[in-house]
């Protein structure tokens, strides 16, 4: 157990190292200059630009820049944003809340609706509803989420005027929960659509797989009620593969959030990333990249831990 844990940790560090080097190289070698924004301001001299470049730490060779950055990363100093000179971690955490609220709501919604759909389909395999839901999930996965965003905005905001088309709360208004929820509803639904389809497909297969097992036949032969068989025997077993999916969905939700945040001008981390790419704000972009990479590896570790708790076979193996 400890050995696998250590080797896991090593693998995680290697992966993060590759991610950081690749990301760093990609960003720094990409065309465009972080100083472009300053160069445009009137009265800016070459000397002044040189000073700024020095302040940004861009006047040393790239490998050295990387080492300086890594050193900072390890001691918790992730650098400062090129745009407003705020510490990167402050900037990220300033935007993280909005993304977590959006992605959290969406994933709750997706898990709940998707898993229910999947179970329904698996319990009634081959029925009309089951076929319909299978087709529906392919359709949902085949259409870019932002399109749903646009259609929803044009229907519910523009045409019907029921819900706001963007932002986290009404401009200038005081904070109220109702207002916040109204703003949250559309983006959360749009973000949830894709993962709902994934959850539905996956749950259906997981439950169908369990239903075909010998021990379900045993449970029927014992004279248990269908209800008891479903909740106690089927779902308990189907839970295991579903935990895996939950772990895998973590990084995907961030990707989805990036697009959804753009459509709904939601002030989260996805839009921050897009902006920092546009302004060549390397420290913030790298920070977000590392943050999401850590989240992804963390997700897989949490998955394994949950798995160990939920699966008596693994628990027994550990003793």
């Amino acid at each position: 157990m400890t050995e696998t844990f250590v080797s896991r940790l090593v693998r995680m560090v290697v992966t993060l190292a590759i991610v950081s080097v690749t990301g760093f190289l990609l960003l720094h070698l990409a065309p465009g200059d972080p100083l472009a924004q300053f160069a445009l301001s009137p009265g800016m001299t070459a000397t002044q630009l040189g000073v700024i470049r020095h302040q940004m730490g861009l006047d040393v060779p790239l490998p050295l820049q990387y080492l300086i950055w890594v050193k900072g990363l390890l001691v918790g100093d992730w650098g400062r944003s090129f745009r407003d000179h705020q510490p990167v971690l402050t900037v990220i955490f300033g935007h993280l809340g909005a993304t977590l609220e959006l992605a959290g709501t969406a994933s709750l919604l997706a898990t709940w609706v998707g898993a229910s759909m999947g179970m329904y389909g698996a319990f009634r395999q081959g029925s009309r509803t089951d076929t319909l839901m299978t087709v529906l999930s392919v359709v949902l996965l085949s259409i870019p989420t932002f399109w749903f965003g646009l259609v929803f905005i044009s229907l519910f905001s523009v045409r019907l005027g029921w819900l706001p088309s963007g932002n986290i709360h009404a401009v200038g208004g005081a904070f109220s929960l109702g207002d916040y929820l109204r703003h949250l509803l559309l983006p959360a639904v749009v973000l949830a659509l894709g993962s709902t389809a994934i959850w539905s497909r996956y749950t259906r297969n997981a439950v169908a797989e369990v239903l075909g097992q010998d021990y379900i036949r045993t449970a029927r032969a014992k004279g248990l009620s269908p209800r008891r068989i479903r909740y106690r025997h089927v779902l308990r077993n189907a839970l295991l593969p579903m935990i895996t999916l939950a772990g895998l969905q973590l990084p995907t939700l961030l990707s989805g959030a990036l697009v959804t945040e753009t459509v709904f001008t939601w002030p989260g981390i996805g839009r921050l990333f897009l902006d920092s790419l546009e302004y060549r704000d390397y420290p913030v972009a790298m920070g977000i990249l590392m943050f999401s990479a850590v989240l992804a590896t963390f997700g897989s570790i949490v998955t394994d831990a949950l798995y160990a708790v939920a699966d008596p076979r693994l628990r027994a193996g550990r003793q």
Binding site: D214, T218, L224, R232, P312
Partner: protein, 337 residues
């Protein structure tokens, strides 16, 4: 023989497919099981023996494609007799696991891996006997002790993955006998086990039968097992009962050519007990249920095949003598030699 506890008449099971011809898995099977008696159903795979068992318990896939007909009268107690094939699902459920229970072939996959042994036995008791959880758990410990497991107090909180195959099959038996059923259906319960463990499980079943007095339908393709455990043998071939006789008669003087080949390498009852033998392979294949041959379904593989007779008329099951039935047009000729 006293009045049978189970009387199966003209049981037929057909699986209709959306496309393609129907599959008649069982065609008009009839046999009786007396109280406390052990009836072995033997046959090659796809002979319809497992489907028969599943049909009796109403466990066949409930899809529109499954058509079950016939009658299976089961004596619940001295006063009540029910037709298992006509019983509404609700009442069938109350019967399953209480009056009739079943032990399956593969103990490695037949127990739920994420529930403890105790939970799995206890839920039979809470469902049927209305025991509280605490009582059910205590009963589960007793049952585990009865099926010969050491440390039953420990084993109740184990998961199936922590037990060996033989131990799991004992758990399955404990679970099946929890409510003292009148009939136990055992579908190849020893096939997946080691030879030594097989013997132990058979001994256990016999011992428990002596103690509890339930009847057993024992489905197997192992002739050695038949000799050891059964009172009566029902031989099935391609969905039909082809011979039904007391075990000694069947093994010593089978009348249907198929049974003879089936028992060929084990000529006498005692020899069977001396060395357990597996089913010998018979030349040819069990016919595809969708395209069964005309006449006697065994004729393409039969050494006594007579053209114009065996491939023309489908023989019916006739009584050769008291309690011994055979399905063969030529059984008298063959018996005379």
């Amino acid at each position: 023989m006293s009045r049978p506890i189970l009387s199966v008449r003209k049981l037929a099971v057909t699986f209709a497919q959306g496309s393609g011809p129907d599959i008649p898995a069982v065609e008009g099977a009839s046999f009786d099981v007396g109280a406390g008696e052990t009836v072995a159903i033997v046959g090659e795979s796809s002979s319809g023996k497992s489907v028969t068992a599943m049909a009796l318990l109403g466990l066949l896939p409930a899809g529109a494609g499954t058509i079950v007909s016939g009658q299976a009268l089961f004596r619940r107690d001295e006063a009540h007799e029910v037709d298992l094939l006509a019983l509404p699902e609700r009442e069938m459920r109350a019967l399953r696991g209480r009056d009739i229970s079943m032990v399956f072939q593969d103990p490695m996959t037949s127990l739920n891996p994420v529930l403890t042994i105790g939970e799995q036995i206890a839920e039979v008791l809470t469902t049927h006997d209305g025991l509280t959880r605490r009582q059910a758990r205590a009963t589960a410990v007793d049952l585990l002790a009865r099926v010969g497991l050491r440390d039953p107090g420990q084993i109740v909180s184990h998961y199936p993955g922590q037990l060996s195959g033989g131990m799991r099959q004992r758990v399955m038996i404990a679970m099946a006998l929890a409510c003292r059923p009148r009939l136990l259906i055992a579908d190849e319960p020893t096939t997946a086990l080691d030879v030594t463990v097989q013997a132990q499980i058979l001994a256990l079943l016999r011992q428990l039968q002596a103690e509890m007095g339930m009847a057993i339908i024992f489905i197997t393709h192992n002739i050695g097992v038949v000799a050891q455990i059964s009172d009566r043998v029902v031989v099935m071939y391609s969905g039909q009962v082809v011979e039904n006789a007391p075990v000694r008669d069947a093994l010593d003087g089978p009348l249907m050519p198929y049974s003879s080949v089936l028992f060929r390498t084990v000529p006498t009852y005692d020899a069977v007990l001396a060395r357990r033998r597996r089913l010998p392979t018979i030349p040819g294949h069990v016919p595809d249920p969708r395209h069964r041959p005309q006449g006697c379904t065994f004729h393409p593989r039969c050494a006594h095949f007579r053209p114009g007779v065996c491939d023309m008329f489908r023989p019916s099951l006739e009584a050769a003598r008291e309690g011994h039935e055979v399905r063969c047009v030529r059984w008298q000729e063959i018996a005379r030699g």
